[in-house]
Point group: C2
Chain length 335, copies 2
DNA sequence: GAGTGGAGTCGAAGCGCTTCGACCGCCGCT
DNA sequence: AGCGGCGGTCGAAGCGCTTCGACTCCACTC
């Protein structure tokens, strides 16, 4: 491995000069800079990450905690993770992938070892165990999601309350009066995952306002689970004409089942989904949907992290505004 | 932050002793060890990652390069990534997430900076640009996937040739003579991604052996693409009675379309999928399938990495044997 | 009773980098 | 002419850890 010292010798300058060329923290004459840069090229020098971290107490690594559960909203998670990794690189950072498995201990370990300069947490619960640790670790952190108490924390998320309200508004405007909500799996609510609860809150509030009847049912992904849930919904509320679907793994099964039952979409029944654009456009019926801006969320989270590391910190909650796109799955309520 | 020196002072021993307690590289008396461990607990000490990496030239980090494309076999990727992260932790390593975006440069950067001790590459192409760099970086590396030239590389993968053969065998045994293969998106073949080509090779070879006619068609995921592809397949080969599906995003659309066309599965048409178990069991018809053992692949890759780092290296290709599970989507060919 | 060797501990020398203070010219000011 | 100040460079002191060699005891052996 080539070292700083070797570059310095090759360029005929001192080690510190090379360091300053690299960091730009002191002015360097054009001629010296050029010579140093040439030497770096020729020798194929790469700064040693460990030495750098030790000397500067900055690792240029951002830790990303993703949920362990691989059974939920996987594409969204993946998209966020990739967006985080990609934007981190554009800011000169790398991303360390932590799974939920280690739980709160991971926070302690990462903060304690100075392995990462900052952390981004996904899949945040309302009363997340990791938050107290995070707060008094003093590390900069950004949450993707919204806990109950956001004091001292920076958060990025889609405004799920507004999202719920938007879906209701759309269906109400089309004359629907009885709407069923196909939620995430029951476990998601039991863990008090913020986004799921907030969506339902938003739906409930707006429904009350517009005089709509809501039936909310958690639902696992997959065909079998959806079949059961759907049967029970129509048993209980035969007059249901609208669906709001939050679990993307239930979307296609739902469309399929409706079709089998001879209920036409959107003539007899309207469906609004909360899902990534790709799911909405690739489904068997092009879905009216509120997009989950996974990439945007990942990008924003990184930008917040970078801003805070640079001291331009702003402990704030940034809620992205939902956008509803009308496609082929929603129409006027049947008369 | 608490340092080694502080722990040493607190325990009344020298720094090196604490270090040896931590690493176990020299014998320490029980009493000393206990005292040191107590101090570590009380002070809440965590070794500084940078310092450790610098002094030992081991970062205990494994870099994982995942493809940037978020549109392909996402669940599989995610499952592998999580399995890698999880098993890495059980071996005391962390995982650095690199996206394909940076391309071969990432290999140079990581190797050069000693940020990671080893690399795991996913989405390997037959003639992958990263391989030459990897070879002469001297870093230990494991590929998930199989390039054309595996010399000097450790690889882990499902045996996709055998997988293809297995699918053909199953359908041939049921009397099917005309089978269509729904492949991955065309771009996957253009990039010469190993697994896709090898699957087709395996299918072709076995089909010849069993006198089966094969029609292979690449296919994007999603409903619309599948509809087009399916139409063209039946135009060209009206006698098709079997399908082998490799693109998991095409599975559900295919089932849906067949149903719409009044072709019953498995009475009129049999479908065999190559996909994760979850997809197979959650589809609208429980699918006869060859499982893609994503977790297993991730775990094996990490184990290989750890073995090589420990000097118990074995540059070898490890192909996992495919397992076909018969479910409800395949049956005897119609007469 | 001197010699041998292993168990247990310590001191010191780095690992490769950043950064602070100091130094040296040289320009421009009064 | 003299001096402040600034652009540009260097030396040296760490950052917190690992690891090598050396040292001390003490239990054995012959």
């Amino acid at each position: 491995m080539v070292t700083l010292a070797e570059v310095a010798q090759h360029a005929g300058v001192s080690a510190s000069t090379v360091s300053y060329v690299l960091s730009g923290k002191r002015s360097i004459s054009a001629s010296t800079r050029e010579r140093v840069e040439d030497s770096i090229q020729q020798l194929g020098y790469h700064p040693n990450a460990g030495a750098r971290a030790l000397a500067s107490s900055r690792s240029n690594i951002i830790a990303l905690m993703v949920p362990l559960r691989t059974d939920m909203y996987v594409p969204v998670m993946m998209e966020i993770a990739i967006a985080v990794a990609t934007s981190a690189r554009t800011h000169g950072h790398d991303v360390l992938l932590l799974t939920g498995e280690e739980g709160p201990a991971a926070v302690r370990r990462i903060a304690g070892s100075s392995l990462a300069d900052a952390m981004i947490l996904m899949d945040v619960e309302l009363h997340d165990e990791r938050l107290p640790l995070l707060r008094d670790s003093g590390r900069t952190a950004v949450l993707i999601g919204l806990p109950a108490d956001t004091s001292g924390l920076t958060c990025v998320d889609l405004d799920f309350e507004a999202t719920g309200a938007l879906c209701v508004d759309h269906l109400a405007g089309l004359g629907h009066r009885e709407v069923a909500v196909i939620g995430e799996a029951a476990a998601v609510y039991e863990r008090h995952t913020g986004f799921a609860e907030r969506t339902v809150d938003g739906i409930r509030a707006k429904a009350q306002e517009t005089g709509m009847r809501i039936l909310h049912r958690p639902c696992e992904g997959g065909y079998a689970a959806m079949a059961g849930t759907l049967g029970r919904i129509f048993d209980e509320r035969p007059g249901t004409t609208g669906f709001i679907v939050q679990n993307e793994a239930a979307v296609e099964p739902l469309l399929n089942l409706l079709q089998q039952q001879g209920r036409a979409v959107p003539e007899d029944v309207s469906v609004v989904a909360i899902c990534p654009e790709q799911v909405a456009t690739q489904a068997s019926v092009r879905l009216t949907s509120v997009a989950i801006p996974a990439q945007e969320m990942g990008r924003r989270a990184v930008e917040q992290v970078v801003a805070e590391l640079a001291g331009r910190g702003t402990d704030e909650v940034e809620l992205l505004e939902p956008v509803l796109t009308v496609r082929a799955s929603s129409g006027p309520a049947p008369v």
